[in-house]
Symmetry: C2
Subunit: 315 residues, 2 copies
Amino acid sequence: MLHERNFPFSSLKLLASGRSAGKEIRYEDKTFTVEEATPEAFDDLDIALFSAGATITKTLAPEAAKRGCTVVDNSSAFRMDEDVPLVVPEINAEAVKGHKGIIANPNCSTAITLMGLQPLHEAFGVKRFVACTYQAVSGSGVAGMRELENQLKAWNEGTVSEPENYAHPIAFNLFPHVDVFLDDGYTKEEHKMLNESRKIMSMPTLAASTTCVRVPVMRAHAIAVHAEFERPVDVEIARKAVEAFSGAELCDDPANNVYPTPLQFSGKDKCGVGRIRVDSALDNGLAFFVVGDQLLKGAALNAVQIAEEVVRQGA
Amino acid sequence: MLHERNFPFSSLKLLASGRSAGKEIRYEDKTFTVEEATPEAFDDLDIALFSAGATITKTLAPEAAKRGCTVVDNSSAFRMDEDVPLVVPEINAEAVKGHKGIIANPNCSTAITLMGLQPLHEAFGVKRFVACTYQAVSGSGVAGMRELENQLKAWNEGTVSEPENYAHPIAFNLFPHVDVFLDDGYTKEEHKMLNESRKIMSMPTLAASTTCVRVPVMRAHAIAVHAEFERPVDVEIARKAVEAFSGAELCDDPANNVYPTPLQFSGKDKCGVGRIRVDSALDNGLAFFVVGDQLLKGAALNAVQIAEEVVRQGA
């Protein structure tokens, strides 16, 4: 992503756990040796893109920040921290300015949902929404992808490959279980969609209820959204708002079978928005279907976009 | 299904198009020869289970009814006809009584959704709901199943099998497109879920908005439902209501990874209901996840259950 977007830097350091130290990685025409991510390793750095577990991040990110290095963190460790901006540049780029050394990158389903919701919010003022997700196995990393592949290969050979990464088989199956369950019956993923949307959109009382579902798709998340707005809605105005929004690609011509699908939007920076129609159950309601590559807008792309804002704003 | 439920009959006739006439089919320990479904073929029959396209059904069902044969029809041809009861026996068995020769079997996603919604409606009074479906390829018949299989076999061999039945590849993909699109941007399937729910539940003003999505699952549909009720809701009362409802199986212990999945409910008569929780966006809201074998509760099982009601009520 740094390469693709031609991110400006004079030097690059690759940091990881002690286990990976010494490993060589090629970037453009140079070979880099991975170093251990000690606090001191951040001494001379301006920006660090973190993508580690929440536990290690909670220790290391403040150490990096203390040393004057701005951390863009992909984990959930600091997202809801009052002192940490949670940024989707198309929505709240200005929040970058207030950072105190750490800026958080949001949850993937949240970022993708908002690529459809934000332009409609700007047009009509969102009040509440219901969202049901269709989340790809790559959201669980390489382990999720291997598990789906192994189960499908076993099916093809007439055998069975038992689940290891998930609680249930994922081939020819799906389950309403992404991240862990909390006491109120929601998953952490479902909580993130509500709480992170509120923070990114600066709407602390925004109401949302979501069901997050893992499906046997390799890459790109889809979300069906049914939203209620403050002001009367209009489908044509909604389409134009989506079209004008930099994070979205309007993909909405059902008569010609045009609507976003995961295969179409795998590898694309923009999220596809389609099936825009008046919601038949909510007041001033609109329903739409949004699909985005969660490895891009939901992770690497958004992180680099945040880093670009840090550079651009001199923040 | 007739065999499994030990449906009482003295004689059995298998009718089909002229093309299939003469074909032999074994049922229990007898061999039956398929006959052509002419109007006269219904002369001596009491009950006919129809499962044909809407066009042929529109011609033949009234012919059968005229001859004193009660038709239980699986197509959409007569479902919204005022003179035709649309029946899910767990909900409106008494509607069978008023029939004029034809009784309609509902759309599969609708029947399965209502297996979760009806007990909650009885407890709290439903006002409106948002439902997003995860529909198996067997909903498109054997053509849908073959297409998913062929595409996965091709993937395994490193080749590609082009879509024939669907507008887009279904392996590792999904699309918000089930049945044809209508002028208002909804699909016919989505309209059915609203209109048929209203009719089955005798609630002509019930509000519902749905997104129907085809997913790469072989069998059993899943539906995420977010519903608003007239009266204050309680999760424990909701669980007890589902448990006591004859069409549902409570499958709701997320801490132990217990929630319904398509693989678990394939081949099961009852629909699994789980993930019951207070909805965080709707007033007096509850969210739940329901899964059912659409070839059973959504089709054959419900049709035979209707026929059983015809016998039981002497209707």
